[in-house]
Amino acid sequence: MTRFFRGWRPMLRIARRDALRTRGRSILVLAMIALPVLAVVALDTLGRTSDVTPREGLPRQLGSADALVTSDGDTFAVDQNADLSWIVAGSAGTLLPRPDAATVSTVLGAGSRVIALTGGELAVRTRGGVSRPTGVELDLRDPMTDGLYDIRAGRMPRTLGEVAISVRFADRGFSVGDRITLDDGRTRRVAGIVESTGTLHQNTVLGLPGSLGVHNSTAHQAWLVSRPGGVDWAAVRQLNAQGLYALSRAVVEHPPPKSQLTVGAVDGSRLGSTQIAILALVVAMAVLEVVLLAGPAFAVGTRRQQRSLALIMATGGERRDVRRAVLAGGLVLGAVAAGVGAVGGVAVAWAARPVVQGFSTNVLGPFELSARDIAAIALCGLVSAVLAAVAPAVLASRQDVVAVLIGRRGSTRTGLRSPLISALLLTGGVGLAVIGARQVAGELTIAVAAVLAVVGMVGLIPLVVAQLGRAARGLPLAVRFAVRDAARHRSRTAPAVAAVAATVAGVVAIGIGGASLTAQHRATYTPRGPMRAAVVQNPAARPADWAAMRAAVAARLPASRVRSVLGLHEFVPVTADPEGPVDSMDIQPADSGASRIAMATTNSLGAYVLVGPAALDTLAVPMTVGQRAKALRTLADGGVVMLLPTDPGVSQATVVKLHAVDRSSDPKPVARWTVPAMVLTPRGTTMPALAIVSEQVTRHAQLPPAVTSLIVDRVTINQHVEDDLSAAMSSVSKTSTVYVERGFQDDSTRIILLLLGSVGALLVLGGTLTATFLALSDARPDFATMSAVGAGPRTRRLVAAAYAGTIGLVGAVLGAAVGFVPGIAVTFPLTSSSWIPKGAAGTDGTVLPDHFVDVPWLLVTGLVLVLPLVTAGIVGLTARSRLPMISRLS
């Protein structure tokens, strides 16, 4: 071991001195490595800080209590895990009485204390009308509530006539001492302004139990409890048996063994092997990118050191020593960069907490550093630096000592072996991409293929650069000089070009995949209701609920039109028991043979089969006047209107009534008859329902139609109205959902492409600029010569621009070419559409292709052509134009 260190010590000393002497280049390398380390460390720390673990979350949920017991109004036994990240609502077994505080007390036994926490919607009169904050009734005088709220002004309410309000609610114009008026006409004095310790920006009014009157059917009921010795897992299970969930301090701090948990309740957050593989690929690509970006600086450094390295060999050093000398440079700079990056990352994370908090209403957890994560990230940085120094180290150790010492610059010949291996890797990558394209879930295969192809391409770049140098004859002077110089200094040029190429390859591949997926989604988008209308669904609603919901909509949106959709659910219970036998209906084209047409339906209006001619208007199916007339005629004749992706050209349909002993059993046909039929082909590939049938059909099948959803339209429904409507429906029936049809939305893709493009552009810019400025400083003597033979001030700028353009363009073109392969390949598994029937029509009415390929040309041309040219232009404009003097003449 000491021998080992003895070999390294002088080299490390040389490296340290050298790093200090060539400050500019050292700072460049430091930045290249420290910045990614900094960014990742900062993200990791912020992630861990904003992630509130169950244990960290205890104070904000429990205050000072031992447990929070919640009722979801379940009347069956429930199941949960330790931190409530997995719960199963009750649906079977003995029907229980609705649990109350007494239930909790009974379970927890003597010595326990229970205080109620009730939440529900409140209506408060404000200047602008009526505001609907959440009302929370809780005895805030009880020490168990300590830690739930921070007091920002005033104090907690002490009497029934006092309330505390949240900061957001106070922003509506209330302050301590004001009075607020509830919708029952009574007023309360604002005693204090508070903020929840868990969630910011809540619209809340707090009061003592009974002071707000939130006790109604929509109320959320919970209890804070204290119990000597805490609430153990056994007690939690007992509460579960009563239909209650419990978040217990004791259980979270000491979770029960897995054997005591229901199968499936075990924490599923561990990484799967696929995720590990993806993580490994991402880390590998990130390290490769850093290596490539820092590589040129090391290559230049090594060449400047060439003479001293040759002297090391001349004075008895071995090749190994020369390699060490260069690697030591990587080690020194890498270690400093990793350290700086790690410390900087933590500092940035610390400083960025308020900013991150601004994006989230969840209060961040305590500032949390993971030594293991930071060490791993810093190690990646160090490894990147050493790896970046490997190629220059090997080249330096192979140099011809004599040639260097007598000052002849031998041209390094590219060996044959490495291009051969690289070509094999590239070919292998392309081949693997083709294989992955044929697999059903070939995304991971293609990702591996992409990495192989990129690594292969990186290995081939020196060869490409050399060939370009040979082909440069006939180009304008500045470009010719730039290309030839780039070819001569391949060890500097190749990594930069490779960095650009690898980036562009990644961006192009991901861009094509993402854009294609979006294209498919757009083409196969199925509207779930009429455009701009809101669809209210409620699978559990009874007829009375529907009436209440209609009334609520009318109250909220008086100008709107509300239509009920009549239909059949997929399974119609035969008895009152929801677990009991069910009937269902299937409709097939009569002459289509025995085979059932496989088809996806969304039951978008809550119904599997719609009933009556009114459904023609509520479904978002475009049809001609003729089709509409024919459909009405067919329904009047007691027939059906089938919704199919393609028209099989039939005029009759077979209606099948099926029966099953329960929902999960195989249904058996019990009746079958033929009715007149016509076919409509809605947009998209997923049908909004199976068919529209006439009432005669349901009567014949003895399946009574029911209201399955409401359609609200003729008013503008923006996000605000949607939220309002949603809240209104929920207050009537908790199981209701509101969906507003706004057509295909692809904002996320656009943002992802923009983000991808920006990161890509940044990396391309980084690679291009470092290589260009290293090249310019390297070419100093050549510029001096040019000056002596009469080059004007423009020449240096032209060469600088040509340099940037060359590196950017060559890298981008190669990268795009390589990126296209996995990009196109991944569209096959991503948008594989074997389930789309042949000849189905897309949203625009044309026949849908087998799979979708959409190349984001704006992104690709922007990255491949525009960015390098713009970079070249900027470099050309900003480069120093003054030419250096020839050194010999001084």
Binding site: P476, A487, P781, T785, M786, A788, V789, P793, I886, L889
Partner: protein
């Protein structure tokens, strides 16, 4: 014979105050076309400074430089660069060829920089290379050439496009005696063909190729060889050669 280069009372001070150094203290010199003038002196005598100023790479503190009737004092950097492309050719000790360009491209550089078409400048470059006797090496890169060949390329570059003033700074410094002599023969031939040449050297045998030798000491001309003496006087008694 016309005067190509005229230097009058040239002074050049480097630095200021304490570190003030007088590189030239009033040097006058004129070189006619067809004439090769050698400047000799120990290192630090100011001979290289003289050459940088004569080619417009550096500007004097005082005095004037006139090339083919044009005074350099009032010229912009761009005009000075144009002057170097069209009128002045430099030859350096370490050749200073651009390794990324072939021999022909190196020679064509001043013409290309001046805006000539690639084809036209290559034709001129080939002509210049033929003149220095290495036309067949036109497409080689400098790294693949011997020192003497590289210096021939450099001379070709200095004369391409019919430039009338060649400024050579120790052009034989990196060459052996015989190769150096060939380079000087080339320079001599160019001057005999009508160019004016200034050769800075510290080697007497190379300076001897010049028509006149000027001795520079501490920024001053201290002596110069006059017009050529009769051969006979040196060789003693009557000769028949």
């Amino acid at each position: 014979m016309s005067t190509v280069l005229r230097i009058e009372d040239l002074t050049r001070v480097h630095g200021q105050g304490e570190s003030e150094v007088h590189a030239l203290r009033g040097v006058s010199l004129s070189v006619d076309s067809g004439e090769l003038v050698a400047v000799m002196g120990p290192s630090g005598s100011g001979k290289s400074t003289l050459l940088t100023i004569a080619g417009g790479l550096d500007s004097p503190t005082g005095g004037t430089v006139t090339i083919e009737g044009v005074e350099l004092g009032g010229l912009s950097r761009a005009l000075l660069a144009r002057l170097r492309r069209r009128s002045v050719g430099y030859v350096f000790q370490d050749f200073n060829l651009i390794p990324a360009l072939t021999a022909a491209e190196n020679v064509a550089l001043p013409r290309e920089l001046d805006g000539d078409s690639a084809r036209a400048s290559r034709r001129l470059a080939m002509h210049a290379l033929d003149e220095v006797g290495i036309g067949e090496l036109a497409d080689r890169f400098p790294d693949d050439m011997s020192g003497g060949q590289q210096q021939r390329v450099a001379i070709a570059r200095a004369v391409v496009g019919d430039r009338r003033l060649i400024l050579a700074d120790e052009p034989t410094g990196a060459l052996d005696t015989d190769t150096g002599e060939q380079v000087l023969r080339l320079l001599r031939a160019r001057c005999d063909a009508g160019s004016a040449g200034v050769l800075v050297t510290h080697e007497a045998r190379h300076a001897a190729w010049a028509d006149r030798v000027i001795f520079l000491r501490d920024g001053l001309v201290i002596d110069e060889t006059g017009p050529p003496a009769a051969v006979d006087s040196l060789l003693g008694a009557s000769t028949t050669r």
